[in-house]
């Protein structure tokens, strides 16, 4: 048996959730929480470059939808 086996847990842990929680401290100041979560999830799942493109595209779409509804 390996020494590390002593620390095996049967608790249901969500590594992705833990990663997002732990990453929050390292994100740029001033970002809205929901953007942080979207960005970190995407960063983990599809990689940094694509995540940046997706988040920027999402922001543009939201801004566009708000603008055609007359909300500024």
């Amino acid at each position: 048996m390996n020494f590390l086996d002593k620390f095996l847990t049967n608790r249901d842990v969500n590594l992705l959730h833990m990663e997002v929680t732990a990453s929050k401290d390292n994100l740029p100041y001033g970002m809205v929480d929901i953007y942080e979560n979207v960005y970190v999830y995407l960063d983990i799942v599809i990689g940094t470059e694509l995540a940046v493109i997706y988040v920027v595209a999402l922001a543009i779409i939201i801004a566009w939808v708000l603008s055609i509804q007359g909300i500024e």
């Binding site: 020494f3 847990t9 992705l16 990663e19």
Partner: protein, 323 residues
């Protein structure tokens, strides 16, 4: 599942250089080589782990076992992995020789080349041609469409920045597209006696720093051991047990990774960080560390008894910030 993302294969500890900062203590006298059987096992089983995207071939100097290296890259490439080679570029003594090596590697599927060059590597590379080797390898790699970067272990010395010097020489050679990154030396292995005033102060870890290498890059060592990171302690017998998950001779890579994802110590290193773990182990006045790997080494060699007193539950409390 998000982890691991990378599989590092340390094909051998043998190296034609004996750099003073080498934590693996690689050198010409080392003879350990990963067997062909375990190389195939590691890569084919990695293909069953969807989170792994990149296979990195490193060592030692893995090009010393060129046929085995090409075989590994070919297999990894066929299975859909991005492949990366870490090398000291000894083989690129002329453009022709660089092309001879790189064409074979490219045909096998190599996508990324990571050349190690700094004040530690330079004296050994002189024997094979010097910095011109780096230029030869980089220019041919660019020509063949291999993404290339140069990894530099930067030191605080009177001679100035190696990174700036290398960037200047790359610009002069028209190789502006080559990326240069800073590697972090640790005072471990052969580097244990490096004077601390030579190490960059910005590497000194802060308490809330977690280890982004833990769980992210698993490593297969020449003896078949698999570790939960690719840090500087993995090849040091007195400390490697602290990050060793199992051996490929006994378990499949899938089983080893499954165990890692359920391991509270691995989670503590990634999500809380080695310094918080050290504090939990009762260390109130730790020595000054110049990298997170030094913290893990300290825990493995000085805090074994305290570590025995921990449980998976207490480590999960550390991760969740309880108590």
């Amino acid at each position: 599942m998000v982890f691991p993302k990378n599989l590092a294969v340390l094909l051998t500890y043998q190296c034609n250089f004996s750099c003073a900062h080498c934590s693996v203590i690689a050198g010409p006298y080392r003879r350990e080589v990963l067997s062909r059987e375990l190389l195939h096992k590691a890569i084919t089983e990695a293909a069953k782990i969807p989170s792994i995207a990149v296979v990195v071939f490193t060592g030692g100097e893995s090009t010393l076992y060129f046929d085995l290296l090409v075989e590994g890259i070919k297999l990894a490439s066929e299975l859909g992995f991005v492949t990366r080679l870490v090398t000291n570029a000894w083989w690129a003594s002329s453009v022709e020789r660089a092309r001879e090596y790189l064409v074979k590697l490219r045909e096998a599927g190599l996508q990324e080349l990571n050349i190690s060059y700094d004040r530690f590597h330079a004296p050994f590379l002189v024997k094979y041609g010097g910095f011109q080797n780096v230029l030869n390898a980089a220019s041919v790699a660019l020509e063949l469409g291999i993404i290339t970067l140069i990894g530099i272990a930067e030191l605080r010395t009177l001679e100035g920045s190696t990174i700036e010097e290398v960037k200047k020489r790359l610009r002069e050679a028209g190789l502006d597209d080559i990326m240069v990154i800073q590697d972090t030396p640790s005072r471990l292995g052969r580097a244990a006696t490096l004077p601390s005033d030579m190490l960059p102060e910005d590497n000194v870890p802060k308490e809330n720093i977690r280890c982004l290498n833990a769980m992210d890059t698993i490593a297969v060592l020449p003896n078949g051991d698999v570790t939960l990171c690719c840090g500087h302690i993995i090849a040091l017998p007195e400390a490697s047990w602290f990050v060793t998950l199992g051996n490929l001779r006994d378990l499949s890579l899938v089983d080893i990774v499954t165990k890692m994802r359920r391991n509270a110590l691995a989670m503590a290193l990634r999500f809380a960080g080695p310094l918080k773990l050290l504090k939990k182990l009762g260390e109130e006045n730790p020595p000054k560390f110049y990298s997170l790997c030094e913290v893990c080494y300290y825990i493995a060699t000085q805090k074994r008894r305290e570590l025995d007193g921990l449980t998976a539950e207490s480590l999960l409390e550390l991760v969740s910030g309880e108590r």
